[in-house]
Symmetry: C2
Subunit: 360 residues, 2 copies
Amino acid sequence: MSNARVSGPVRIVGAGLLGTSIGLVLGRHGIDVSLVDSSPTAVALASQYGAGRPAAEGDTPKLIVVAVPPDVVADVVERELRDFPDAVVTDVTSVKGSILLDLQSRGVDLTRYVGSHPMAGRERGGAVSARADIFTGRSWVVCPRPDADSVAVNRVSDLAIDCGANLVEMSTADHDTAVALVSHVPQIVSSAIASSLIGAPDSSVELAGGGLRDMTRIASSDPGLWIQILSANAADVTVVLEDVRDRIDAVVTALRSGAPTAALADLLASGNTGVSRIPGKHGRSARFAHILVVIDDRPGQLAQLLADIGDLGVNMEDLRLEHSPGSAIGFAEVSVLPTAEESLVRELEARGWRIAGESQ
Amino acid sequence: MSNARVSGPVRIVGAGLLGTSIGLVLGRHGIDVSLVDSSPTAVALASQYGAGRPAAEGDTPKLIVVAVPPDVVADVVERELRDFPDAVVTDVTSVKGSILLDLQSRGVDLTRYVGSHPMAGRERGGAVSARADIFTGRSWVVCPRPDADSVAVNRVSDLAIDCGANLVEMSTADHDTAVALVSHVPQIVSSAIASSLIGAPDSSVELAGGGLRDMTRIASSDPGLWIQILSANAADVTVVLEDVRDRIDAVVTALRSGAPTAALADLLASGNTGVSRIPGKHGRSARFAHILVVIDDRPGQLAQLLADIGDLGVNMEDLRLEHSPGSAIGFAEVSVLPTAEESLVRELEARGWRIAGESQ
């Protein structure tokens, strides 16, 4: 029935967004999944969704997934290792080093424990937000320690692969440094920017455009969860946050001095360089050519454009639609490899499409 | 021929993104638009696009729009007021106070000058990026001074309305305070976050998710332009930037102290409050439901999806593609009116599409 790499039974502790979503994936593979949660309602809900059955006496899980809030992960991992002496245990917490340190300080034998972190989430948590597809195409970091059992490492890696994620192996330390940079510090800074809006007059806030909206989107995240994550990764977060603060402070000093040009040039140029390091798209990728095609705002137009691009054998790397509400026309920004740009523009124009712009 | 409020002739100085876009709008209303730019190529290009004709001896503009870089705006406004003694002159610069001060310090009679600021732009500048609809639904701030001629104020307000913008009247001081908050400080902070990526290993940067991408999108903006804008609004920017820096610094101090909970709770909760003040939704329009559809990364898939949506008679309001490089699948985020959401999800699933998420 299943082509899954993981073989059950699997026990999931914590029927929130991640635990329930993992249960949904494994359930589709026909694997026996048992669920526990401090809230019986959460277990009942997750079961109804098809994420597994309530756990029972005599369960003999081969793999246990701990998906509970950061501040109780070490307790739960220790308990599960003790209660199920034949099972491999992983957790899915956003921070890995402090949990490992906690477990080690308790003298727990960690041969069967392998920490992991699926880089997936939604702005809303809980079983109600769970989906089997939230891991698809996302990174899932697995942190094998040198002393970990290779069977355990493979079993956890198989879980990530079964969930459709891109498996990334990193050391615990490298993981925590990386997420401080790409996730934790951006969270703090987003909250700081959003906080600065509190005392402002409505007339100011109403001028907010796309830039501010993008900068503050993650500021609507759950404080309770984030206090735990940030506290647990304090050392790595502090290093990056001080760097960002110092860069801002250099601009403050320069603005106050009345001669800000050099400091602003330095920051803005560094920002250009930094953003170009992010793979894939950030708005638009510098690796691709972008062609702006005018489309009428009526059903079928965009489908026709994409069909034409497909006919021409061109692989579209990215697509963005832009149109103003109420406007009769819109724009499709088609991203292709630079080598494909010239002929695509020529062929599209030959088919009657209007090209409003090109850029790389 | 025209139902425009503005009557020409209109003279546009500076055939960049904003100047050319305004020319396109007025041209569609049949208004005589003349163009000047320090670059004859820019004038030729803008003319070809339909943004107006090259300026000529004997032009008698009733309205002059100065759309040149911030550091030469005052020079150009002074010159235009002198050269065309019957014309109303406006500018479209992102900063208003320093320009006004500069003009006043020269002893220029400003009866016929009314500063304005259309809150529209694109990551790419220049006439090639110009579009008639970039102002549609955006705010266009007009800053009438108590001593300004009411005919002049009306003429500039009419321009904003003709361009499809939402007319917002603010004092020069209020405008500069507002844009420091909603635009200028976010630009600096985005650049600071992006800068922090420069020295990081590839493996860290590759974990970047949507949060970091959103936070750094505007960090790819043009440094040359932003140095001028930020320098010209130094006082207001400094106040807000110090506030943001202090909020970040409080977290750094708390993290270093080993007892960060209260400081983190304060910041994260304030962030929740602040972001809730932004009208509409952060990042995506609250007026639409957003459906995340899983698509295989091969030619024809997206075209098929759009054809299916078209078949179902659903009007797609917006579309964004998301996919990780090297990943076999991607996501199309389809935005539709909330009333269309439920049936669209059902019909798409019936046609075999996988829905990875929904949100409003």
